[in-house]
Symmetry: C2
Subunit: 380 residues, 2 copies
Amino acid sequence: MAEPKKESLQRLCDLHRDAAGLINLNPIQRGGILTEAAKKTLLEWGDGYSVCDYCEGCLGDIKKPPIDVFTHEILPEFLEIDAVRVTNGARESKYTVMHALCEKGDTILLDGNRHYSTYVAAERAGLKVEEVPSNGPPDYRIDVEKYAAEIERTKPKLVLLTYPDGSYGNMPDAAGLGKICRDYDVPLMLNCAYSIGRMPVSAKKLGADFLIASGHKSMAASGPVGLLGATEEYAGIVFRKSEKYKKKEVELLGCTARGLPLITLMASFPSVAERVKHWDKEVENARRFVRELEKVEGIKQVGERPRNHDMIPLETEAFHRISEKHKKGRFFLYHELKNRGIVGLKPGITKNFKVSTYNLTDEELEKVINAFTEIAAISL
Amino acid sequence: MAEPKKESLQRLCDLHRDAAGLINLNPIQRGGILTEAAKKTLLEWGDGYSVCDYCEGCLGDIKKPPIDVFTHEILPEFLEIDAVRVTNGARESKYTVMHALCEKGDTILLDGNRHYSTYVAAERAGLKVEEVPSNGPPDYRIDVEKYAAEIERTKPKLVLLTYPDGSYGNMPDAAGLGKICRDYDVPLMLNCAYSIGRMPVSAKKLGADFLIASGHKSMAASGPVGLLGATEEYAGIVFRKSEKYKKKEVELLGCTARGLPLITLMASFPSVAERVKHWDKEVENARRFVRELEKVEGIKQVGERPRNHDMIPLETEAFHRISEKHKKGRFFLYHELKNRGIVGLKPGITKNFKVSTYNLTDEELEKVINAFTEIAAISL
């Protein structure tokens, strides 16, 4: 061991989050904001392996705190799927399914709007990736009817749909794809990192064999934590036990999220189960945001219309024009927003970006709409 | 989505940790207790993906907070190894190396004292496991000289040594094995989940190709979080980039610990870098604990002698004898300790158990020794 440099260590002292207390519009941030109930757990459960005081060999079976009830009763009911496990995140859940179900060299079929981590998970598992492309600009819709021909052509071991995707926030017809996959007898995995915890999702209603969720993205939990739900047909495969250690599930390496990510997920859950019932209000907020911003010439929502999700991808020629004359150049938008207490856009971006209005109060939504329209009215 | 039962949801409200504020002797808990500096970060960095506000595509390269300095400068210096990545835990680090280096069906060679998760990681990767057994009771020593013949016999793709193991806290001759592995040109992975963060560890001095660390076990971090260190020779393999996404490391699925586990690891690190310098005092405390407890007839330390680690496995016939007459039966020890403000033993255990004296203050150590000797003196 060598001694780390003092001036480097100094940089780890007194770490502060720049964005703390501001309105954060980054879609990856809005659904992960802790509830008051979750915040209250932080100090008491902060230490290392805090949830493992009464473990008898399996994380999901711990009774104190009631991880067993959460894992084996609450979550399966909530998602209407036979078995659920808490994982280290949505990407880890996806990899687990791919690795458990497929052999190296097998083909899986994805939607063209899939998250990069879906592709990387397939790469890690050594799989061949085929994709059903979107219909391109400006909607980037995934037409699930196209899967049938692609399933026939590529004979995939697994089909994945991103519901919604993280680029356009489009909500494809998951239930329609569920029927197609059943017809072809190929398992369907829905990546619900941006839906479970925001809106009601039922594996039964959608005909999904696997559901993927993200605690830090959409369930008001500290990262990294996710869920993996599976139907009975596949649960025995993805959650198979070790031959030597009968309580340990091989694909989960025995256990996964063991600490604050799990406790905050559990503590927030009662609020999360409640908030999904008010999804229509969130969709209405997103639509209102789009209506107001599109009153500005040179601002245009892309992705399907009207919005069916809080994620809003925008083309913003209006801001780009200002940046060409503004003394802060392409950083002006970031600074103008920050001066108004709003963050979440990448510094330097003006031509297009995505925001989320999820869980904004009415006052906050008003403030955000006003900020963008005011900034668009800057004349130089 | 179905509505979860109200009475089940109620169980998630007001979650409290039974062990909060007590002295916890469980070896998996003592090294993960948060520092004051880490506790201060909890509220500000609690939300979901808090560390990702300024991400440009790679967790380890984030400048605000200074994850880049921590990952690419501080940790490699601290461990004297070329490249380090933060992972979701020690088991995930081990699986990553096995999966990246080996093909299904390959053989790896482990020590007989390895953690169950090492075995399960190998099982997940589809590997054949060979083991160098310990010399059995009462020492359970791993004689690294035995590896040479086993390497010749089994031709492993990878050799692993647990340094120390989690059952006996034995410190095998890692540097000796480093030389043997170099002679046979086979990579050596040291599982340092119970050493890195407690004592000085240098890959260079030990001749290790891979170092595995656990943030929640030994680096005063909220779980789950770990480290994976690799020499230059192997870093390009285990940290290889996606063919399509040039910033994303395939085996890490793009990124790993994204939230409180990472921030608490960073915030605690200056204290951790300091505390490893006082390892001799920790070893002395463990030896003192053993000396005092062995004054009781029917209490005997197992594992190598004298202790070279804070983990202390005990055979405690003395407590078992009391349990046979005590009105609480085999639960008496748990209750007697708890009445004295001490937890960390499994309820119902009396014949043998392991404890750790790590990071106990002098007063706490005194209190723990007195508790055990008092309880052993109960006459019925």
